[in-house]
């Protein structure tokens, strides 16, 4: 399980290939696979079992937690060293194990979702010092890079019983709870620093679509809509970030019912940047749910409205909270995605 330099190189190459492939495909998303939710879950379970089969007994013990374990809420935006994660560290996996882990993620996530995850990880590699703009190793035992991401299962992967696939590290926490044909990503955290970097001659922006869609939506608002949407105060960080489980803040901003049909579509496309991290089949019913509650959904904005500026925004509905919070500039972004009615699949457990 000990990662050697060679393994790290192979793994890095593997991620880079995945990144290149996903970058090539990112502008031409394919339609949802013609499967029902149960089939999608079965494929994820199969990929999880294939990953488990690559592990020895010790590895299986380390990756597996009870479904109701406190591990569920043990995630953070912080890097390794500043926050202790459990599960299997990517840097400790052999190439075949790491490939199986990435295959699992590519099955569980959509093409766009997988691209986002890989780009966030690669961005952390850049932050570590492996690319332009790198800052070198962090002080105080803090570690960055693609090796510092952890995979855990809560509950046994099953096509019918609830279980959770948890994958995260610095600037990333995907908590995907599956229960038969249903799945939720809530709560999940995506972030990026640097928010843009060069890879094979092109600029990669892991959260670029979130940013661009939000500014496009703002640009489409008329004066009256803007007046409602823009909060008259600065928001310097996530309100419901890590550690804020179980809280629901009072919604503010512009009600989506005041948007035109095309603006509502823009808002839903923006929401899809988070909900659509799950594979297309599992994301579709979630998007239907969010669409159904659009009249009770709010869009709020704080900061400049000129594209390229650092601005905070929030989308909040009965089953949805999304926040996008630049950290003192455009090159460091934190986001959160929650469902106050179904964080960690709480609704599935009740059903």
């Amino acid at each position: 399980m000990r990662a050697s330099v060679g393994i790290a190189t192979v793994a890095c190459l593997g991620v880079s290939v995945a990144l290149a492939a996903s970058l090539a495909a990112q502008r031409s998303p394919s339609p949802p696979a013609p499967t029902v939710g149960a089939d999608a879950t079965a494929r994820i379970v199969s990929a999880a079992q294939a990953f488990l089969a690559t592990l020895d007994e010790g590895g299986r013990t380390r990756v597996q937690f009870p479904f109701d374990s406190p591990q569920k809420a043990r995630w953070s935006n912080l890097p390794t060293g500043a926050f202790k994660r459990e599960g299997l560290r990517m840097g400790d996996l052999a190439p075949a194990q790491r490939a199986a882990a990435m295959a699992l993620l590519s099955t569980a996530f959509s093409q766009e979702g997988y691209r986002k995850v890989v780009e966030i990880m690669h961005g952390d590699e850049v932050l570590r010092g492996g690319g332009p703009g790198g800052r070198g190793p962090g002080g105080g035992g803090v570690r960055f890079g693609e090796d510092e991401y952890y995979l855990a299962f809560l509950g046994v992967p099953s096509a019918s019983a609830p279980w959770m696939l948890q994958f995260g590290g610095h600037h990333l926490a995907i908590n995907m709870t599956l229960a038969g044909r249903q799945a939720t990503l809530a709560p999940s955290h995506t972030a990026a620093q640097p928010a843009g970097y060069s890879f094979e001659g092109r600029t990669v922006r892991p959260l670029g679509d979130e940013n661009d869609r939000a500014f496009a939506l703002m640009a489409s608002l008329d004066d009256a809509q803007r007046k409602e949407a823009i909060l008259g105060y600065s928001v310097s960080d996530l309100v419901l970030g890590p550690g804020q489980d179980g809280r629901t803040i009072q919604p503010e901003g512009l009600r989506a019912s005041a948007l035109s049909a095309s603006q509502q579509t823009m808002l839903l496309d923006l929401v899809h940047e988070w909900a659509g991290i799950a594979n297309d089949t599992l994301a579709a019913p979630r998007m239907d749910e969010i669409r159904a509650s659009l009249p009770q959904t709010y869009f709020a904005w704080s900061g400049p409205t000129t594209a390229g500026s650092a601005a905070y925004f929030r989308i909040q509905g009965p089953t949805l909270v999304i926040e996008y919070a630049p950290q003192r500039g455009v090159d460091h972004i934190h986001t959160i995605y929650r469902d106050p009615t179904n964080d960690y699949g709480a609704r599935y457990a009740r059903e």
Binding site: N77, A82, G138, G140, S236, R247, Q250
Partner: protein, 229 residues
């Protein structure tokens, strides 16, 4: 407040000497103070999360660790919690409330020094009596102003009797005013109805008795003094 002013000075002096190094890739030179406020018919609940960035944390630790042992003792923690509390103003309908500290937690010193730790204070203010209708809660946080970034939000009330109608903030969110309404509870409504009925009965009863007395007097063919009864 003198202690708080001293803390501000120490922080100000120290932070001018600390070069801002983004070693942790996270908040460095400011102090994030996030308040989440829950409203109930009979109380106000405030959760205050205080996350000093790495530069602030180093200064703060130095200012609070009086015995210099590298950790914050219970007394040192209590002293700081008192300073934070003293910098808060909470008022309901312009009447000051006195929040009590229900609990607090401090992060491990190592996390604190890295600027990765959060101090959490749970506060509660009992509201003796709130009538049904519209109310206004003011929350103001002046703790380490000038070094802090603030967040202040009303939570969705858990009680169906309470509804937030508006939130107003100053530019940096150090001050939040929550406008909200309180509906009378079913029990309270029943109480008011029963009380009203009882009051009406008591008001009507003497007149009824007077009428009866008069009728009785008339039937007896004579007048009787009410005071003589």
């Amino acid at each position: 407040m003198r202690a708080s002013s001293g803390l501000t000075v120490v922080l100000g002096l120290t932070m001018t000497l600390v070069a801002s190094t983004d070693v942790s890739a996270h908040r460095t030179e400011d102090y994030l103070q996030a308040a989440r406020i829950g409203l109930e018919p009979d109380r106000v609940l405030i959760t205050l999360d205080l996350t000093p960035g790495i530069d602030v944390a180093a200064s703060l630790m130095g200012a609070l660790d009086h015995d210099g042992d590298g950790a914050l003792s219970a007394d040192e923690q209590r002293g700081y919690v008192g300073q934070v509390l003293g910098a808060l103003k909470v008022a309901l309908d312009d009447q000051p409330l006195q929040p009590r500290v229900v609990s607090w937690s401090f992060p491990e010193p190592s996390a604190f020094r890295r600027g990765e730790g959060t101090i959490r204070l749970e506060l509660q203010a009992i509201v003796p009596y709130v009538s049904a209708g519209s109310h206004r809660l003011l929350f103001r946080n002046a703790h380490l102003a000038g070094h802090s970034a603030y967040l202040a939000n009303a939570l969705v009330p858990e009680s169906a009797r309470v509804a937030v109608t508006a939130q107003r903030r100053d530019r940096d969110q150090s001050e939040l005013t929550i406008e909200y309404t309180v509906r009378g509870s079913a029990a309270a409504t029943l109480g008011w109805v029963l009380g009203g009925l009882a009051g009406a009965f008591l008001m009507v009863r003497p007149r009824t008795q007077r009428c009866r007395s008069r009728a009785s007097s008339r039937s007896s063919g004579g007048f009787r003094s009410e005071t003589a009864e």
